[in-house]
């Protein structure tokens, strides 16, 4: 068990730290969270800065245009960027952490050449078209149909909770290419398509969340034509392709946020010392317990990353263990923040309170905690499937 970094890794850290200290002051002011075009411009601008400095797609394979960094270097990158207060991946989230890795793993050379460089440069934004009104946790029940017509698929249906749809250029779209038939498992008829968001027949309607802002949208598809060449993986093999994507989402997408939570916790402790909340035994000990929690989650990440480095390939179901614990820990952090803030916890003008509201989605998004527990129980512990 070795937690020390090599000389090479430490050199990488100090170069990155040095670059961050020069790059961050050049960033424009952060845009208003409700102004999506401004958010897109801000996030893609940051992506471009990373690209120019050679930090874009750090953990992507070199063949996909990435830097082929080691998992440890990726962790150092997440640690240092969060510590420096650099922007979060934001509108580039789906492209960099979902669609990109999926295309890199499952796409043809032509598809990789077409879609990956613009993601890395910050030229193109992706959104995720998975969930539907009747297919959320039961994703395989999706009904958006794609019918082959010559060199195109003709797609009709609707998607919901599509993050960044308003400003996206592309959508990673799951469609049904074989009808639901009781004799075949329903996940067998699904196909993964790259949908251009400016295609005729697409309507995007923003959805307002409980935080008051529009984080996602509903997307309606009315006989939208998608070239067959935009299919990633084989027809009806989209479920397997999707599992590759979800393993990435659960495995590494939340990792950087753990460091951000530790920073929030430190700031919260400082606030508590100022406003007297620190003198309440229970509040103070809850802050202490959260310190243990986020430190342990960071160590668990290092454990999982080391395990997958030795094992090779995509992160495994260990990501579900992490995601389950992290999403609840994050919510507990903001519950404790409310204790510390007292009446100010009802002030929407405080960033912490907006974060408190948004933390409510963490136990739902990317598979609810209940679904994650089923995954842990069935795939790690080997308990039987049932209802």
């Amino acid at each position: 068990m070795d937690l020390t970094c090599t000389e090479e890794e430490e050199a990488f850290r100090s170069r990155l730290r040095d670059w961050l200290s020069k790059a961050l002051p050049r960033l424009p002011p952060r845009p208003d969270p409700s102004d999506w075009p401004a958010r897109r411009a801000y996030d893609t601008g940051w992506q471009r800065m990373l690209y120019d400095a050679g930090y874009a797609g750090l953990h992507w394979p070199v063949a996909a245009g990435g830097r082929g960094a080691t998992p440890t270097q990726h962790l150092i990158y997440l640690e240092e960027t969060e510590r420096a207060g650099a922007p979060y991946v934001g509108a580039n989230f789906v492209g960099l952490l979902h669609a990109g890795p999926t295309i890199a793993a499952e796409g043809t050379p032509e598809q990789r050449a077409r879609w990956l460089p613009p993601v890395l440069r910050g030229d193109e934004i992706w959104c995720q078209g998975f969930s539907e009104p009747d297919a959320g946790s039961d994703l395989a029940a999706l009904r958006t149909r794609a019918v082959r017509d010559g060199d195109d698929y003709v797609v009709t249906g609707s998607k919901i909770w599509t993050s960044h749809a308003e400003v996206a250029d592309w959508c990673e779209l799951l469609v049904r290419t074989a009808p639901i038939d009781a004799s075949v498992p329903k996940h067998r008829g699904i196909t993964w398509l790259a949908l251009p968001m400016d295609a005729p027949g697409i309507t995007v309607r923003p959805l307002r969340t409980l935080a008051g802002s529009a984080e996602f949208a509903e997307v309606f598809l009315d006989e939208v034509r998608v070239p067959v060449a935009h299919r990633v993986g084989a027809e009806n093999d989209g479920w397997r392709v999707t599992m590759v994507t979800l393993a990435f989402e659960r495995g590494t997408a939340f990792v950087g946020e753990v460091v951000a939570c530790r920073r929030t916790l430190t700031e919260l402790a400082a606030t508590a010392r100022r406003n007297g909340a620190w003198d309440d035994d229970e509040t103070r000990r809850r802050l202490g317990a959260l310190n243990a929690e986020f430190t342990a989650l960071w160590r668990l990440t290092q454990w999982n990353v080391s395990a997958s480095t030795r094992g090779g390939g995509a992160p495994g179901v260990g990501g579900s263990v992490f995601k389950l614990r992290y999403s609840h820990a994050r919510q507990e952090l903001y519950e404790t923040a409310a204790r510390v803030l007292g009446p100010d916890a009802l002030d929407l003008g405080r960033a912490l309170i907006l974060d408190r509201l948004s933390s409510l989605s963490y136990t739902i998004a990317a598979g609810t905690s209940q679904i994650q527990r089923n995954i842990v129980a069935e795939r790690i512990l080997g308990l039987p499937k049932g209802r």
Binding site: M1, D2, L3, T4, C5, T6, E9, T72, L75, L265, T266, A269, R284, R285, R286, L287, G288, A289, N291, A292, E293, T295, A296, L297, R299, L300, Q302, W303, V305, S306, A307, T309, R310, G318, V321, L324, R325, Q370, Q372, R373, N374, V376, A377, E378, I380, L381, G382, L383, P384, K385, G386, R387
Partner: protein
């Protein structure tokens, strides 16, 4: 960074697991519960295997290994419910005669409680006026003392490692039972309510294990406090959930579950309590 067990560490863990499986199987454990006395022969066998002298330098007759290696061995002790003042004797190797070899038993007054006082050859700390309790754990005789706690981080870490072993064993026992026990025409493990209990047990154990291993490597007092806090929680709640999964059987003396719960309760009060750990962790913020 390669935060995984080395081949030597895996071998060390396997050797300890084999030794305990041979010496402390279910029948031996049942017998010990009915006649609680320290098994001196087993104690010496542990000494011969290097359990107590593990971290003593080789020139002093020890094995010269690290706290991280010791954590793996103590995790196995926790899994097997190995009784005795393990941590105190391990810490006394090199200072109390015979501790390193398992020839003597050493206990230590650690705050308001001390374990195995009557059986110990050496007692560290002031046990004057100690009063015997009817210990909740049939395999840990306890005395109440007027002593105060002198915090020893390594001791807290090794106790946390035992807790992780116990939590891990509780998870296994629950899963075994959930797969074999049928009700309403199917294994109870097919019911989500049972499945989710088991999944939460695993998650708590894995998080605690990562914390314990990392703290054993860094030896940072704050990380050790975090490891103890999370491992205590994993062991206590794990045993309770395991008992629940066992249903009526879990409530019997016959099932092994109550022994894990009671020992976890004892260890949660030893070396560093949850309250003390949380204060250390808060102060570090």
């Amino acid at each position: 960074m390669d935060f995984q067990l080395t081949a030597d560490q895996k071998a060390l863990r396997a050797a300890m697991r084999d030794l305990l499986a041979a010496r402390l199987d279910r029948a031996a454990l049942r017998a010990a519960v009915e006649r609680p006395a320290l098994d001196r022969e087993l104690w010496r066998a542990l000494g011969e295997a290097g359990f107590f002298a593990l971290r003593l330098p080789e020139r002093e007759g020890g094995v010269g290994l690290t706290l991280a290696d010791a954590a793996l061995v103590f995790e196995e002790a926790g899994r097997a419910l190995l009784p005795g003042p393990l941590v105190a004797t391990h810490l006394a190797a090199g200072t109390e005669p015979g501790a390193a070899t398992g020839e003597s038993v050493v206990t230590r007054v650690d705050g308001p409680l001390v374990g195995w006082l009557a059986e110990a050859d050496y007692v560290q700390g002031d046990a004057e006026g100690a009063v015997a309790l009817r210990s909740v754990d049939p395999l840990t005789p306890l005395h109440r003392t007027r002593g105060t706690r002198t915090y020893v981080p390594e001791a807290a870490l090794l106790a946390a490692a035992e807790q992780v072993g116990s939590a891990s064993r509780s998870t296994e026992l629950a899963v075994q039972h959930a797969r074999s026990r049928a009700q309403f025409g199917q294994p109870i493990g097919a019911f989500q309510a049972v499945k989710h209990l088991c999944a939460d047990m695993l998650v708590r154990t894995e998080v605690a294990r990562a914390a314990v291993y990392a703290a054993a490597v860094t030896q940072d007092p704050c990380e050790i406090a975090g490891a103890k806090l999370l491992a205590d929680e994993a062991a206590v709640r794990g045993a309770r959930d395991c008992l629940q999964v066992h249903g009526g059987m879990g409530f019997t003396w016959e099932a092994e579950v109550h022994l894990h719960l009671k020992r976890a309760w004892v260890r949660a009060e030893q070396w560093q309590s949850a309250k003390e750990a949380a204060e250390v962790l808060a102060a570090a913020l």
